[in-house]
Each structure stands twice: as structure tokens, then as C-alpha cells.
């Protein structure tokens, strides 16, 4: 539930798990401080709800290089139709004003990368870039039943046997911009069917910065609004609601305001010159829930008693083999 199952498309009857973001990660490549690993996972409970990537959708990793909550760099991943188990990905890098907008333009950095629908690992390399897409073990770990009980955790990891569809991109740090302190978020966009070449060809379906922010802070239909709100507008639209939630956990006005300004806009801050983990980027093993629990509950709850999985790989694509 980092961001699992909160997309509007999951509402019946338009279930669309293929573009439901579950998590994203950003960390310095182990053993190579000049490169970064960016991971975007979708499709919770895969393959129960969906068994491929969505052709026609855009899976996008946004990079803000100057702390204005607007992207100056974006990586756009698109997929061909799934033809009897054959599907390929194209990855584009776009910079400047176009990176903040909606569209499929950009410089192709990976082309015809095959999707892996089983435990095999086919990696596509082009220049300094490396890419994997396919069916993997869900790396997220959390006691979901304890959360449903209102933070009364028992250490039962709901995600220990779950799968997702992963996109893993290795990039040289310079591709994230000159300033090593960047902000990263991910989003998915669905084709409207219009396809006349303008910005209306797509609408934003899901979005995620830090884990579990939308899940924990937003009520009901606010979750849907949050998923389609650009980061630069988040404080204005959701700041008061976040402060109210924080005050319900015992924070005074000043502290609730200060923490809200950390949490919003919902962007994962990442210094690519550092190998440290969350809140600097996010590694697969980072216990982000424990860190956020302590922060959000004002220290009343500090752990869900669940730790990282043991199936992460030491090398690219880092995400473990799927459970079959």
C-alpha cells in the first residue's frame, strides 16, 4: 500500500492495474557513484489483475533539478501492444519545458527492449543506459493487516509473496541534471483515444513521490484528486488537510506546518552524489514505513515489525524473481 490500489482506474468498472503505481525507487548504483538506478513498479497483485504493461500509456519518471516542483528532465517509457506474450519498451529522455508537459516526444535512449513475462532477465543496453522491464517480486514490505487495525502491528508482511511489473533504468548521473540534489516523482498517463498530437491525448492516472503519502493522508475521493494534482499545486490544495491529520497525532500547529512542508509537494528528494538511503532517494531495503510511521505519529508508533525481503538481487535489475 505504498501506493498500491489507489488509482482511479482501479474503481470498478474501469479496473486498470497496468498503470497503477505501486512504488518507485532512486538510489546510487552500488559500486558506481557515477550512475543511478531508477525503478518504477506498477500492477499490484500481478498477474491477478493484469499481466502486461499498457500499450498506449506513458510511464514517466520526472526529475526536478532546481527545487521548483516542476520537472526539467523526464524519462518516458512506452510499450508496444502485447502480441501473444511479446511486448517491447521504448524509453525516451526529454529535457527543458517539454519535460514538464505531456507527450511522447524525447530522445530515444532505449528501443525495442523486450518485456520479461517470466523469471528470465533480458537486459537492454544502449550507450550509458541499461533497462529492464518485466514480471518481478514486489519489493515492498508492510504489515497491511496491522495498518487496517489502526497501526496495531503484528509483523505479518502482506507483500512477502506478491508480484509487480517492474521498469528498471540505469542512468549516468549527468542525465539527471548538473545539480546532484534533485527531486523525483513518477506518474502514469493513459491515452484518451484522441491521439491528434496535442496535450489532450493523455490524462494523468496515478502519481507518487514518497511512499504511502496519498494512502495515509488523503480521504476518499481526495486520493483521486491527489493522483492528478501537479506537485507545484499540492501545498495549496492539500496542506491544510495534511496539517489536520498531523495534529490528530498530537503535533502542535507549528510542527504540523513544518512537517507538512516536508511532505508536500510529494517528491522524493535525492542527492545522487550520496549513497545514503531514505530520505535521500529510496533503496529497495530502506524501511520507509518505519521512518514515516515515527514521523507521522509523532513517535507514538515506530515500527510495523516487518523488515526487508531477502530476494533482492545484488546486481541489475536488483528486483527479485517473481513468485510463481
Amino acid at each position: 500500500m505504498a501506493d498500491h490500489l489507489d488509482a482511479p482506474g482501479l474503481m470498478s468498472p474501469n479496473m486498470d492495474a497496468e498503470i497503477d503505481i505501486t512504488d518507485h525507487y532512486a538510489f546510487q548504483k552500488p559500486g558506481n557513484p557515477d550512475k543511478s538506478i531508477l525503478i518504477l513498479n506498477v500492477n499490484p497483485l500481478a498477474p491477478t489483475l493484469a499481466n502486461s504493461f499498457e500499450s498506449g500509456a506513458i510511464y514517466e519518471i520526472k526529475v526536478d533539478t532546481d527545487a521548483d516542483a516542476v520537472a526539467e528532465v523526464a524519462f518516458r517509457i512506452t510499450f508496444s501492444p502485447n502480441d501473444n506474450g511479446n511486448q517491447t519498451a521504448t524509453v525516451r529522455r526529454v529535457t527543458g519545458n517539454a519535460a514538464a508537459g505531456v507527450g511522447t516526444e524525447g530522445h530515444i535512449i532505449i528501443e525495442n527492449a523486450p518485456v520479461n513475462f517470466d523469471s528470465s532477465v533480458t537486459i537492454t543496453e544502449h550507450g550509458p543506459y541499461k533497462f529492464y522491464a518485466g514480471f518481478r517480486s514486489d519489493p515492498f514490505f508492510f504489515d497491511l493487516v496491522g495498518f487496517l487495525h489502526g497501526f496495531h502491528f503484528t509483523g505479518s508482511d502482506f507483500f512477502i509473496d506478491k508480484n509487480v511489473f517492474s521498469m528498471v533504468l540505469e542512468v549516468p548521473n549527468w542525465a539527471l541534471g548538473d545539480n546532484p540534489n534533485v527531486g523525483i516523482w513518477v506518474r502514469t498517463l493513459k491515452a484518451t483515444g484522441d491521439a491528434n498530437g496535442d496535450a489532450d491525448d493523455f490524462f494523468q492516472n496515478d502519481q507518487m513521490g514518497r511512499p504511502a503519502i496519498n494512502t495515509v493522508f488523503n480521504h476518499g475521493n481526495d486520493k483521486l484528486t491527489f493522483n492528478t494534482t501537479q506537485p507545484a499545486q499540492m501545498r495549496a490544495l492539500f496542506g491544510q488537510s495534511f496539517e489536520n491529520t498531523l495534529k490528530s497525532f498530537g503535533y502542535d500547529d507549528a510542527h504540523a506546518d513544518a512537517i507538512t512542508n516536508i511532505l508536500l509537494p510529494d517528491i522524493l528528494t535525492y542527492d545522487y552524489s550520496s549513497s545514503a538511503g531514505f530520505l535521500n532517494g529510496r533503496k529497495l531495503t530502506d524501511d520507509v514505513i518505519d521512518i514515516e510511521l515515527a514521523l507521522v505519529t509523532n513517535g507514538k508508533v515506530t515500527t510495523d515489525m516487518v523488515g526487508p525481503h531477502t530476494d533482492y538481487l545484488d546486481e541489475f535489475p536488483y528486483v527479485g524473481q517473481p513468485h510463481v
Partner: protein, 156 residues
């Protein structure tokens, strides 16, 4: 909304369990209050999880198809993704239970339903195969356990 505390719930649930092995014959009043002419009664109860003030992430749904004349029927418990207002049709895996009703009692105007999950493969380690659901139509609520903790649900 009338609330039933955990102690009272466990008292009536315990009393029910003690007599569940015998044949339970509902009173005429119970049939009149709850059932159609054929003795059949259905209900659906929903609770947002986690409870407010936390935002609901999922919905705990209990549905009952009860034959009051024979004290039999089926209870299903399911956790769907989404709050009650935005509930999806996605059942969270490992959290659904299907149980056979073994007794039905009138408890001060409420309906106390006891049952058993015959397919133990549904259960987590240490989880009891028996369950109890208290249905209070007058106040529009139901009470049941959710993985060891008492939850109040709204009848819908």
C-alpha cells in the same frame, strides 16, 4: 448509533458458543423481526479500514444469507480495496473467509450468528475456525472480529 462493547460482545458470543453444539430454534419473535415469510434473511455490513480519523484504505464487508427457520446459511467476509465510498471489486488476497452458519440466537433483539470456516486452508496460522457476528438491525450495526480485534460495521 448504539455501541456494543467488546466485553458484552464476547459474553454473548461465548454464551452462543456454549450452546452452539445443540439444535438452536429461533423464537417466533426473531422470525417476525428479521425474516421474510420463508425464514430467509440477508444482510450486508461494511466498515472502512482503518477506522477514522485515519483515511480508509480498504473496506471490510460481511454478507450473510441466513435461514432463521433452520439456523443455517452462509457468511462471507471480504476485504475490498478502497474506502466504503470508493470501494473497488478487488478483494485483498488472504483476507476472505467463507463460513457455514451453525447457530442463530436472539440476543435482546439482536441476532447473534455463530459459524465455522470448514475450509481451514483459508485460515492463517493460529486463527480460529469459528466466528461470531452480531447483527443489530434496530441500530443499523453489526459487530464481528477482524483478525482478533472487534470491529463495528454499518448495515447497508
Amino acid at each position: 448509533m448504539k455501541k456494543l462493547n467488546r466485553r458484552k460482545f464476547l459474553q454473548v458470543a461465548g454464551a452462543s458458543s456454549a450452546v452452539a453444539a445443540g439444535v438452536m430454534v429461533p423464537s417466533t419473535g426473531l422470525l417476525e423481526r428479521y425474516a421474510a415469510k420463508d425464514g430467509a434473511m440477508t444482510f450486508r455490513a461494511v466498515a472502512g479500514m482503518p477506522a477514522k480519523p485515519l483515511p480508509n484504505y480498504a473496506s471490510y464487508v460481511i454478507e450473510g444469507h441466513v435461514n432463521l427457520a433452520t439456523s443455517s446459511g452462509v457468511i462471507t467476509k471480504t476485504v475490498f480495496a478502497g474506502s466504503p465510498e470508493t470501494m473497488s471489486t478487488i478483494a485483498l488476497p488472504g483476507m476472505s473467509r467463507i463460513g457455514r452458519i451453525s447457530s442463530v440466537q436472539d440476543q435482546g433483539g439482536s441476532l447473534l450468528i455463530t459459524g465455522v470456516v470448514d475450509d481451514r486452508s483459508q485460515l492463517k496460522r493460529g486463527e480460529s475456525s469459528t466466528f461470531t457476528v452480531l447483527v443489530d438491525r434496530l441500530n443499523g450495526v453489526a459487530q464481528a472480529e477482524f483478525f482478533g480485534k472487534l470491529v463495528s460495521l454499518n448495515l447497508v
